[in-house]
Symmetry: C2
Subunit: 199 residues, 2 copies
DNA sequence: ATTATCTATAGATCTATAGATAATGC
DNA sequence: ATTATCTATAGATCTATAGATAATGC
């Protein structure tokens, strides 16, 4: 199997994953039938089983694809930064803006909830702690605070209307987290007031 | 309809809600059939529709019942406290201990996720802010941080084994949140080192 | 007589597969 | 010849209701 055939297969697979992503923005995956997915992907019903053993498998891959994109986006926006506190702030500020900058991603992340394998890696936190920039007793607790708070603010943002209020909440969350991690008020605000790289 | 008949009806209803609670500790509600619920409640299948229009309705009520219990428990544990910072700390410390003190509640809360109508009321936070004890820019963000962080740490606790590690993480979360809300390190630790009322 | 419960089932799903079809590989 | 796609369907659900049964109310 080479060339065109392989390409066509990949295309069908991509269409299914993409349909799953679209459905995830507005529907509870448990209530979506495989028929609906293949219809949305414009693919024959039976083709589904050529690619995925179950619905769950497909939706997991769709969420993983979203997380990959998300990680790449954050990496691109933070790779030039030398201050780990700023890297965290940028990741938080960009992600918490998703309700208006990337509404489809925001809704999928919201639906995935705490299980979402987001770009706020525990290793980044450990590194920031090791170099003395962030201060906390327990990296797992710190990581849970970042993930949980961000998901909470993201959900609020999805219900809010005004983009500028969403931005404001995003920045306030970043300040709050930096304060949680030992930065003094003034330093936290200074870090968060730095301009945000384009996403 | 008075007396015995009414009592019997209430009993059936309670059995269904209780069965839903038990199922919620180990199963995804979307994958549980009404037949399974009525079997678990030891009730005829048709009785279900005498009480609830749909599965969703029942599970929502079951979660609400858990939240009511939870709220009552936190209220009992905090009602004597005059320091709002300590009240928050106690609520957080008790709830984050649920994985070993109340495992069934913990698993249900974890499953309900950010939609869980927990006992960390935004009004309590506003009050603590008004009296100058906690400091934040935005009560909605603050509330999302409390809920989200707590859910994150609760989930970690469910995967952890050792109760004393869970307790330690719970206390560290409380310290972190107090620091986020403007308490200095020493003050935060002092508040969290106060003895915990029995749940 | 009234009311809730229970049993049984019709009808509507939904999943997984079998077999036919169409397109590429060699 | 091989491979993936598509169509059609068998079988297994699951929901919602109709009608029978049992118990209380008056």
């Amino acid at each position: 199997m080479t060339g065109r055939l392989e390409r066509r297969k990949a295309q069908t697979r991509a269409a299914l994953i993409d349909a799953a992503r679209t459905l995830l923005t507005s529907r509870d995956p448990a209530g979506v039938s495989i028929q609906e997915i293949t219809d949305a992907a414009d693919v024959g019903f039976g083709s589904f089983y050529n690619h995925f053993p179950s619905k769950q498998e497909l939706f997991d891959l769709a969420v993983a694809a979203v997380a990959d994109e998300h990680r790449a986006m954050i990496r691109a926006a933070t790779e030039g930064l030398t201050d780990p506190a700023e890297a965290l702030a940028v990741a938080v500020r960009l992600t918490a803006r998703f309700p208006h900058t990337h509404p489809a991603l925001a809704r999928i992340i919201d639906r995935a909830g705490l299980g979402y394998p987001g770009p706020w890696s525990i290793d980044d936190l450990r590194h920031a702690h090791a170099v003395g920039r962030l201060c906390f007793d327990d990296a797992e607790v710190a990581s849970a605070c970042v993930s949980g708070s961000l998901l909470g603010v993201l959900r609020n943002g999805l219900r809010a209307g005004d983009p500028s209020l969403v931005d404001q909440a995003a920045d306030r969350l970043a300040v709050s987290l930096l304060r949680m991690f030992g930065l003094v008020e003034g330093d936290a605000r200074k870090v968060v007031n730095r301009p945000l790289p384009a996403a």
